[in-house]
């Protein structure tokens, strides 16, 4: 059976598991209808021109995995930022694992989407926020239809979460192939502050397809600092759909570290619904083999006096493929917008590919928008310069790649993440450097 049909028939079974009287169910019904009409995206669609899902849609995915598996902390420790104190919300094969998690309701909510969707006390919040900024697109609609579990994080007015919050999704390989669709909702109310780390990780080589949707609401003068660590096995694929709505005077930065996985697609949309917003989108992508990462970004400037900064760097070796499709949309009202976009790529091998496509639509006349993309090789002159200082060729190459990626790392605010990602990059480049960048 084709995956689409399988999903359609699974939806009927899914309905039996959830409360059909709940208003949310109307949202789900509408979403599955949309997915039924559109199906999975194909390369014929402009937004998917460089990324084909065919190779991952042919697997016979299990849609409803069996109950939580006995996973020990030691099995997952290395995937956690464990050297600092954090709240952690852990899902195993899409199911919440209470013994691996450290949630809270003290001062802030770092808990479960399933409770937020079902408990009456969250109803008003759900009415206000659930699925309000998710565009009707095939993958996000599919997620909405099956929306059931994920992280629910709410930081009340003027509260600063003193610990970062980690959202971790593990797959065990108990199923020969697994599809999971986490649904996260993050609300930072006025003046709130939070740091979030998200990761999807398979523990075996069985194929996994994750189609996740995250809605992030950044209130007035609030600050959200979000890190996505994508370093999964080459048998796992991820469609990440993240939608961010910012109110006035807010800041949201989102770093995406794409170092692993088979096919990764990041649909990242920022909507600025107030003046003086600042949106920061950064990415480091380092791929090898036949890995494929597609960054599809949008910053929608709706109000005046806002800023956005997009900076994505990619290093591609062997037959890997990188795609960057970065859009900036400036509405007529959004005067004095300052939008910056940069995408730089290094191709290390002849077989590696990179498609970089900036897309600027500007309807205001008093704005500053700049964009630049480069695709090139390592600078030979720089390589020679380093070698005259006694740094051997291999290390010099690695140092240059490090330096290249480091421009993005410099804005990482959690030192443990910086350290870890730097180490992973070094590992990936097969070098040991005598310092941390």
């Amino acid at each position: 059976m084709e995956l689409k049909e399988k999903l359609m028939s699974s939806y009927l079974a899914f309905e039996e598991q959830v409360d059909m009287e709940n208003d949310i169910h109307n949202v789900r019904n509408k979403a599955i209808k949309f997915f039924e009409t559109t199906g999975f995206p194909t390369k014929k669609m402009e937004a998917w021109k460089y990324t084909s899902l065919n190779s991952i849609l042919k697997e016979d995915y299990s849609i409803f995995p069996k109950k939580e598996d006995a996973i020990d902390y030691k099995d997952i420790k290395k995937y956690l930022i464990h050297d600092i104190d954090t709240y952690t919300i852990v899902f195993i094969d899409g199911i919440y694992s209470s013994h691996l998690s450290r949630t809270t309701h003290d001062k802030l909510d770092a808990c479960l989407m399933s409770s937020a969707l079902n408990k009456p006390k969250y109803k008003s919040v759900m009415d206000k926020y659930f699925n309000k900024i998710v565009p009707e697109e095939s993958m996000s609609s599919l997620n909405t239809a099956f929306a059931k579990e994920g992280a629910y994080i709410r930081i009340p007015k003027n509260v600063s979460a003193e610990k970062p919050i980690q959202i971790l999704n593990f797959s065990t390989g108990n199923e020969s192939a697994l599809m999971v669709q986490p649904r996260n909702l993050i609300i930072a109310e006025e003046g709130a502050h939070v740091q979030i780390i998200e990761r999807h990780q398979s523990l075996t080589d069985n194929p996994v397809l994750t189609n996740s949707v995250t809605e992030v609401y950044v209130g007035k003068n609030a600050e959200v600092d979000y890190y996505k660590i994508q370093n999964d096995k080459t048998t796992s694929s991820l469609i990440d759909n993240t939608f961010i709505k910012q109110e006035r005077d807010s800041t949201c930065s989102l770093h995406t570290f794409s170092l692993g996985g088979k096919i990764t697609r990041n649909n990242l949309r920022f909507y600025q619904h107030g003046e003086n917003c600042n949106s920061i989108l950064k990415g480091v992508t380092i791929l090898e083999g036949k890995q494929h990462v597609d960054h599809n970004t949008l910053v929608h400037h709706i109000e005046p006096n806002c800023e956005s900064h997009q900076d994505y760097k990619g290093i591609f070796s062997e037959k890997s493929v990188g795609v960057f499709n970065g859009s900036i949309l400036v509405d007529r009202l959004a005067q004095k917008t300052n939008a910056f976009q940069s995408n730089n790529n290094i191709l290390l091998d002849d077989g590696a590919t990179c498609n970089s496509k900036p897309q600027l639509e500007i309807f205001a006349d008093d704005v500053k928008c700049s964009h630049g993309c480069t695709i090139g090789q390592l600078n030979n002159e720089a390589l020679y310069y380093l070698r005259t200082r006694g740094i051997p060729k291999k290390e010099a190459r690695a140092l240059l790649m490090f330096a290249f990626a480091n421009k993005v790392m410099s804005s990482v605010k959690i030192p443990e993440i910086k350290k870890r990602i730097t180490k992973q990059i070094a590992l990936k480049l097969e070098v040991e450097l005598g310092f941390n960048l």
Binding site: N379, E381, A382, Y384, Y385, L386, R387, T388, R389, G390, I391, P392, K393, E395, A396, L399, L400, F402, A403, F404, A405, N406, K407, L433, G434, F435, L437
Partner: protein
Amino acid sequence: MLKIKNLHASVDGEKILKGINLEINAGEVHAIMGPNGSGKSTLASVIAGNEDFEVTEGDILFEKANISELSPEERAHKGIFLSFQYPIEIPGVSVTNFIKTSINQVRKARGQKDMPANEMLKKIREKSALLDMDRKFLSRSLNEGFSGGEKKRNEIFQMAMLEPKLAILDETDSGLDIDALRIVSDGVNRLRNKGNATLVITHYQRLLDYVIPDVVHVLMDGKIVKTGGKELAKELEERGYDWLKEERAEMTS
């Protein structure tokens, strides 16, 4: 220390060096002067091991060993240093991290352990003071947005850190104002000792007012056409290079 015998080199098939002979002993400062396009920078690059240049004939001996086939890093490990005319900007790596990597890679190649962190710090502090460098400068990205003078000062800082046996200064005076020139020259002079040697490549005489050479060579059309003492530099400053061209033309005719 350095002995160059009948060196011919070309780039993209174009012959640039056409039979250079040069011998520099420990403790000496040699200057190479010459008009633009005479091959001065090429000579520096070839000694440093730039792979864009092809040595078609002749040998380069460093401490009696033939280094013509060695990579740039191997030459650096042996103690050869080139101060670039146009130092390369490397965004994303700080001056400090760069010099740490450089020193420890050289030590590694020589079979030594990494320099202890406190020793490294002390040395960085000492050498940056020698060149009157701002501490903030050390945490900036290598050469990125540096002024011409800052770049050159940074080159000499690296030289001070690496303590090479042979330092080649390629047009180190270009882009320097008079104060920077004095600081850089002072730095070079203080690094001089009986065990090391310096090869100064320059178009003008003014650097040689500060870094006094023992021997001055004039390079023209890929060959050393005249060798003399420090007074030769002054003569060139006054008379230019044309008289040498004429002298040569007469000789060849």
